[in-house]
């Protein structure tokens, strides 16, 4: 793909057109920094040294994830706008509206986890799920987890919600005019994002790098995280190939009329239970 000709439409807004792939590409990788893929802190674990399995032990890791997700939308919107093509423009507009509606639901559903862990740090959230798999947050947060999963489908532009690039309607949506490695960057970012979001889902709800049973702790954390990521990537691809695409107005009504109220209810119930039990 690197050897393919990089075509830029003559009437495109060239600086923005060139910039857009990076705006999508970089946030996808930044989130990886705050993901714990093994134990952090505690006793020496590697040849007598202590090795933190996280790049940046950042207190507000969850906020960073949400923020980076929001920034990536700019990439899509700018790509759609700068291509100077009707299909791209429609794709960009759809992406913008879709992200706004689904990010709300996603944010609200994550707050439930945050309340239970009492922290915004992904490291603390994983530590909060210590023990066997019945301590993982997906059991108390089953509604929130489902909402989060659905919202990430929209965030990733996967099928029931892939209106931004809706192949059969908008040719390729915001990437219609892209070619060569710029197109490759978009695609690369999409799949990197899928891995990252799978990691986030497993970290928030499925114990991150922790083994499902404590007796299996002898298998290192990164392997468990890798397995969980694989499961979720499979799930995303499965859904993408089997489920129909929503129409635009239906997408909006699902987002605003179902997911958002449900996530708020989930948040309120979680908040009450957490405040009563603690």
């Amino acid at each position: 793909m690197l050897s393919k000709e990089d075509l830029i439409p003559s009437r495109a807004d060239k600086p923005v057109f060139r910039l857009a792939p990076y705006i999508i590409f970089i946030p996808a990788f930044v989130v990886m920094a705050v993901l714990p893929f093994g134990p952090v802190g505690g006793a020496p674990n590697l040849f007598g040294y202590r090795f933190d399995y996280v790049i940046a032990n950042f207190d507000a890791g969850l906020v960073l994830f949400l923020a980076m997700g929001a920034i990536a939308v700019y990439g899509i919107v700018l790509a759609g706008w700068s291509s100077n093509s009707n299909f791209s423009l429609l794709g960009g507009l759809r992406a913008g509206a879709q992200m706004i509606s689904y990010e709300l639901a996603m944010g609200f559903s994550v707050v439930g986890v945050m309340l239970m862990a009492g922290s915004l740090s992904l490291v603390d959230i994983v530590n909060g799920q210590a023990g066997n798999f019945w301590n993982w947050y997906f059991i108390p947060q089953v509604v929130g987890g489902l909402i989060f999963f659905v919202a990430t489908l929209a965030e990733l532009n996967r099928t029931p919600f892939d209106l931004a690039e809706a192949e059969q309607e908008l040719v390729a949506g915001y990437l219609t005019e892209y070619s060569g490695m710029r197109w490759g960057l978009f695609m690369f970012a999409e799949y990197v994002n899928m891995v990252v979001v799978s990691a986030i889902v497993s970290t928030l709800y499925f114990g991150g790098w922790r083994a499902p049973l404590t007796v299996l702790d002898f298998i290192p954390g990164p392997i468990w995280l890798f397995l969980k990521i694989c499961v979720f990537v499979f799930l995303y691809m499965w859904v993408r190939w089997t489920i129909f695409r929503y129409r635009y107005n239906q997408l909006m009504s699902v987002g605003w009329k179902i997911l958002l109220p449900l996530s708020i209810v989930n948040l309120v119930v979680t908040a009450i239970i957490v405040s009563v039990t603690s």
């Binding site: 429609l90 099928t159 029931p160 809706a166 059969q168 309607e169 129909f244 129409r247 635009y248």
Partner: protein, 443 residues
């Protein structure tokens, strides 16, 4: 507009051609909707959209096609959009125009058969068949019984292949990819049968004036029977995947409503017409081949939307299987090509052994079949609708004027009337639901 919400016994039940709904053999769970717009509300919505546009005047013009993934070829629709709502559509066709009618005027009646293949290349035998019916009507050729049965079987196989292909494409246009592969897998069984019979997978050129080119090969009946026994199970599987899918239901129900009066006025025929509650099937109404000797029902639905067009096609697959099965059961013996040396080709095996047959073969190849003076029009039911052939003959071996009235030509024209006021995503669904093939459309 009632839903067939029944769970009957596991028998096969269809809506009979009398229009009486019978219980389905499979349980149908229609997902509930908060609010389903009625026809009046839809019309009001369209009117409102048009009014909005007239006042604000902000229209985005999008050229959908010729190179667009879901225009099924090289159809071009220039869409005027108000946001996501389609205000107007201007169809442009002709990118695949090959001058079929002009070419046909320079050829003898035998030589036109391969041209008709290229009209609707997804069900090319049905096209051969329709053309040969017209020529036989013009020349007054009597087709032997076995040939009529073989024609019926092959036409129905084409219908199966076409509808299964249509289903895959239609579903893919709504966003699902796996289903396309499933449908192509099943279409392969039918293509194998057609290949066994005709030697070609896509353009068969199998029909001849006065019969068919070859007899059924050994083992065909057995293989064919296995496929038609197995296909209804597959159709049940398709319906389980698609029909009860909530998203499909919401995408397809009440989209692209086109009532029977509209259908008549715009010459919409075939499954879209039958989905509007009209019991019209030329196989029953103007029977040809062996259709008056087999027992089948006309598939009818009543809501005239994309969803019902899907249901009609699924029923037609079942009916086609029934027809093929009956034809195989009652297949008569005898010749498969009429013994009419003036109008039909000779069997190749006789040509090399029999002096008379050789002379007639020379006559047919170098001169052509002699047609009387006059004009005929013969319409047949091909998978996409009604395919009519108009021939004006001045005598001689070539038609003075031949016109192919292809269903997709009119279906391509009808898209604006059907999809105006709907949303952009619906245009794709509607266009898929009327089943346009551009070879058929542009001729």
């Amino acid at each position: 507009m009632s839903e067939p919400a029944t769970s009957g016994p596991a028998t096969s039940g269809y809506i009979s051609s009398t229009g009486e709904p019978e219980p389905h053999g499979y349980s149908v769970e229609v997902p509930p909707l908060e609010h389903r717009p009625t026809l009046d509300e839809l019309k009001e919505r369209k009117a409102r959209t048009r009014q909005n546009v007239e006042t604000t005047g902000e229209i985005l013009t999008v050229s959908m096609g010729p190179q667009h993934p879901s225009t099924h070829g090289v159809y071009r629709a220039v869409l005027d959009l108000d946001g996501e709502v389609v205000v107007d559509i201007r169809p442009e066709i002709g990118n695949l125009h090959r001058g079929v009618e002009k070419l046909s005027e320079e050829r003898t009646y035998h030589q036109i058969i391969p041209i008709t293949d290229r009209l609707d290349y997804l069900s090319s035998f049905a096209m051969n068949h329709g053309y040969c019916e017209a020529v036989e009507k013009l020349m007054g050729v009597e087709v032997p019984a076995r040939a009529r049965y073989i024609r019926t079987i092959t036409s129905e196989l084409c219908r199966l292949s076409n509808h299964i292909m249509w289903l895959g494409v239609h579903i893919m246009d709504l966003g699902t990819q796996t289903f396309f592969c499933i449908c192509f897998r099943d279409r392969e069984y039918i293509l194998d049968l057609l290949e066994m019979l005709t030697g070609a997978r896509l353009t068969h050129s199998f029909c001849r004036i006065g019969g068919v080119a070859k007899d059924l090969p050994d083992g065909f009946a057995h293989k064919c029977r296995k496929v038609v026994e197995f296909l209804p199970k597959r159709v049940a599987e398709y319906e389980r995947i698609v029909k009860q899918n909530r998203i499909y239901y919401r995408r397809a129900k009440n989209v692209g409503i086109f009532t029977s009066e509209d259908c008549f006025a715009w010459r919409v025929t075939g499954p879209p017409l039958r989905a509007a509650g009209v019991v019209r099937d030329l196989r029953k109404d103007e029977p040809y081949a062996a259709y008056d000797e087999v027992n089948f029902d006309v598939a009818v639905e009543y809501n005239a939307d994309v969803y019902d067009r899907f249901l009609v096609r699924m029923k037609e697959i079942r009916e086609s299987c029934k027809i093929i099965e009956q034809c195989l059961d009652n297949l008569p013996d005898g010749p498969f090509l009429a013994k009419d040396s003036v109008h039909t080709m000779q069997l190749k095996k006789n040509v090399m052994r029999d002096a008379g047959a050789m002379i007639h073969d020379f006559y047919q190849v170098f001169h052509g079949p002699d047609a009387p003076k006059g004009e005929v029009y013969r319409a047949t039911e091909v998978p996409k609708g009604e395919f009519g052939v108009y021939i004006r003959s001045d005598g001689g071996t070539k038609p003075a004027r031949i016109h192919f009235t292809t269903p997709s030509f009119y279906h391509g024209q009808v898209l604006p009337a059907m999809a105006r006021g709907e949303m952009l995503a619906d245009v794709v669904a509607i266009f898929a639901s009327i089943d346009v093939v551009l070879g058929d459309c542009d001729r």
